[in-house]
């Protein structure tokens, strides 16, 4: 048979080997290829015989060099048949994956090796590995819990997020029964049912349940589950992808509760609340329906909002609405007038704010019936006007009375004095003109007539002074009371220089008041003290300040005749006297004048005394 062919056996084998993906080679211990099939040279792109000029390790990829050298060493030490996968450099500089199986022979000083082309497989498996790494990374990066269970419900895979959520590492829970590890006892039965349903082929499936974390916390997970089938169509794995919805659900619940609260608040609010969109009412609460006197919500919903506004306010309201819807401004509280369904006009107070309703700009309006308040306000205005009118009337009356009083005082001053002057003057004329014809007794009578008329004149003067205290206008100023007292004291001294009276005047006492009225009051008080000490061999009159009932109180004290406190109330009345004119002269009007002056200053005056032990007059300004 060999003779039939044109090629010999070696040549034939050579040709067959060309089809092989395994190429036997020999490499000398010097590292150089000894026998290399042309097929290998062709695969790597080298010319026939070119590899003989190269050392086997020269073409190894640098990354594989270390392992290749180690193997080469082991092979040459005859450590058995060894293999390695390396990238081998082609002629064009690219690399090709080859698997080498080799055995060294120290006697032949040769390495017998077979190179196998594993390039396609390696490239494919690299892609697979990349894909696996990619999927694994993907699993770990997604913000969802991914857990893979086998048919018995044991955990075969769990992603990073699941680890973070549960606090368990995958290694800790690998192959443990999922139901016991992660579920709440009361939810286990339900989840088992889901699991069974998945196994029965009902997937994908969605449901929610709680997971228990390592620290005992409950997390609510929303699941989307599916199953992986084996070649026979049986469920091999169940893959659960869960989202932690604990916070979202809590937020949802809070929102729902808040909405419910808002709804109740709005519905039960005593204030009328309505919402309008595009100028039409889309919501009105009970109070609003009642205020608008509608039969029910259906009558109000859909109604143009301006229908409820009194015509004279429509322009204002329209402008407000425009500003709120376009400008997003909150409408400040204003007073408007509404017209109810029964045609009644009511005063309302309205606050409004923009609101988004069904993705559209609307206005929420809160309003309140203020008719009663408006009524009260107008009543108050009317009452005020009436009161003002009454005050004006009274003032006019008072002014008239004052004018009358003034006219009266004027005529008293003028007309009452004239006859007195005649009485006095002609009594004197009689005395003068009749000379010796008038007896001493008659002369005495005439003197009494004159004295009486003069006394009456001084009474008139005192009365006029008293009325002037009430009539004159107050001009308040700071008055140096101490200086005033000293001035009056020296005036008094001049009238009776022979008297021995010591004035003790506290320094620096000042008060706000009408200087002229205060002078008049002090003249009266000091004049009294001067008068009622006139029987003393020597007297002491003191002016000072003290505190009484928390108020600054001035006093004028003398050590004169004093008076019986039984009559103290009579002291300040006009024409009230506690002493006979023969004892101490006086009109009986001085203290009445003092009291009026104190009253006009918003103060008061009172006295303390004991007969024979002097008197003290206190006053507050």
């Amino acid at each position: 048979m060999a003779a039939d062919t044109a090629v010999d056996s070696v040549e034939r084998l050579e040709r067959a080997l060309r089809l092989s993906l395994d190429w036997p080679c020999t490499v000398g211990f010097d590292g150089y290829f000894k026998d290399v099939p042309v097929a290998l040279e062709q695969v790597l792109g080298y010319a026939p015989g070119e590899l003989h000029t190269l050392r086997a390790l020269d073409l190894v990829h640098p990354d594989d060099m270390k392992a290749s050298r180690r193997m080469a060493g082991a092979v040459m030490r005859e450590e058995g048949v060894l293999s390695i996968e390396t990238r081998y450099r082609c002629k064009d500089g690219s690399h090709r994956w080859l698997m080498w199986r080799a055995k060294g022979d120290t006697r032949d000083r040769l390495v017998y090796a077979v190179a196998r082309d594993i390039h396609e497989r390696r490239v494919a498996s690299d892609a697979t590995r990349h894909e696996r790494d990619f999927v694994s990374a993907l699993l770990d990066t997604i913000g969802a819990v991914v857990v893979v269970l086998d048919g018995q419900g044991k955990i075969v895979r769990m992603n990073r997020h699941a680890e973070l959520l549960t606090g368990w590492t995958f290694d800790e829970v690998r192959d443990t029964p999922f139901f016991e590890t992660f579920l709440l006892e009361e939810e286990r039965a339900g989840v088992r049912q889901q699991f069974a349903s998945l196994r029965a082929g009902n997937f994908p499936a969605r449901f929610e349940n709680h997971w228990l974390t390592r620290s005992g916390e409950r997390r609510l997970l929303s699941w989307s589950n599916t199953a992986l089938l084996d070649d026979a169509g049986a469920v091999e794995f169940v893959i659960g992808t869960g989202l932690d919805v604990s916070e979202a659900r809590a937020a949802d619940d809070a929102l729902r509760e808040s909405e419910e609260r808002y709804r109740q608040l709005v519905e039960l609010s005593p204030n009328a609340i309505a919402i309008h969109v595009d100028g039409r009412i889309v919501f009105a609460n009970t109070a609003a329906i009642r205020l608008l006197e509608a039969d029910g919500p259906s009558q109000v919903i859909g109604m143009p909002v301006l229908n409820a506004v009194a015509p004279e306010f429509r322009e204002v309201v329209q402008e407000r609405m425009r500003r709120m819807i376009v400008g997003g401004e909150v409408g400040p509280l204003i007073e408007e007038r509404f017209v109810t369904f029964k045609g009644q006009t009511i005063d309302v107070e309205v606050a409004a704010m923009p609101i988004t309703v069904m993705q559209r700009r609307g206005v929420q309006v809160v309003f309140r019936d203020i008719s009663a308040r408006k009524q009260a306000e107008s009543d108050l205005h009317r009452l005020n006007d009436e009161l003002e009118q009454r005050v004006a009337d009274r003032t006019a009356q008072l002014e008239a009375a004052n004018r009358e009083l003034e006219a009266f005082a004027y005529s008293v001053s003028h007309d009452l004095r004239a006859p007195l002057r005649s009485i006095d003057g002609f009594s004197q004329a009689v005395i003068e003109d009749c000379g010796g014809e008038v007896s001493d007794v008659c002369r005495g009578h005439l003197q009494r007539v004159r004295a009486a008329s003069q006394r009456m004149a001084s009474l008139i003067d005192a009365l006029l002074t008293l009325s002037r205290v009430t009539r004159t206008e107050m001009n308040r100023d700071m008055v140096d009371l101490s200086a005033l007292v000293r001035e009056i004291a020296s005036d008094l001294r001049r009238t009776e220089p022979e008297r021995r009276v010591t004035f003790v005047v506290a320094d620096g006492l000042r008060a706000r008041g009408d200087p002229r009225l205060l002078r008049l009051a002090f003249e009266n008080l000091l004049g009294n003290a001067w008068k009622f000490t006139s029987r003393n061999a020597s007297a002491r009159i003191e002016f000072g300040q003290t505190m009484r009932e928390g108020r600054r109180t001035y006093f004028i004290r003398d050590d004169g005749a004093g008076f019986d406190m039984t009559y103290a109330t009579k002291l300040f009345g006009a024409f009230q006297r506690l002493h006979a004119p023969t004892e101490f002269p006086g009109t009986g009007i001085g203290l009445a004048t003092v009291q009026r002056i104190m009253n006009r200053h918003g103060g008061r005056v009172w006295a303390q005394s004991e007969a024979g032990k002097g008197a003290t007059f206190f006053f507050v300004l």
Partner: protein
């Protein structure tokens, strides 16, 4: 130079008598012309009405003017005296019972030369009139424009 008269404007006859008595007691020799109301006083001064024909250029030495007068009151008389250039500088002494401050203030603001309150006490009254006479009739130099 012949003594000029004194014009006493006074509606109360008692006061008139007492005033004249006081002048006499104080040796005032001038003739005292008495008018009983404001209208008559002005008529005298300007030679009108009841006093028509009187030589109005002969002005009194001094006018003693009561404030409370029938028809035209003293303040109005004073205002008219001061408003007329013939009598603008004529000495006018307000002699009144009133001691109301507004009377005093108004009198001075209208141009009264002096303000004397009639005291009830006749002695004081006499003193006051005496001082008046002394001042206005003896001491006071009338402004040049009215002397001739």
């Amino acid at each position: 130079m012949e003594d000029k008269c004194i014009l006493l404007v006074e509606d109360n006859p008692d006061d008139e008598a007492l005033t004249i008595r006081a002048f006499a007691r104080n040796n005032v020799q001038n003739q005292v012309v008495v008018t009983r109301d404001g209208v008559e006083a002005l008529d005298f001064l300007f030679g009108e009405g009841k006093w028509a024909g009187r030589d109005a250029t002969k002005l009194p030495e001094v006018v003693l003017l009561d404030l409370k007068l029938p028809k035209i009151d003293g303040l109005e008389v004073l205002r008219r005296i001061r408003a007329d250039k013939r009598t603008r500088v004529l000495p006018v002494v307000v002699l009144t019972s009133s001691d109301e401050e507004r009377d005093l203030v108004t009198s001075y603001s209208l141009g009264a030369n002096s303000y004397v309150r009639k005291p009830v006490d006749f002695e004081e009254f006499m003193d006051a009139v005496g001082r008046l006479g002394l001042y206005w009739l003896v001491l006071n130099e009338a402004p040049a424009s009215t002397t001739h």
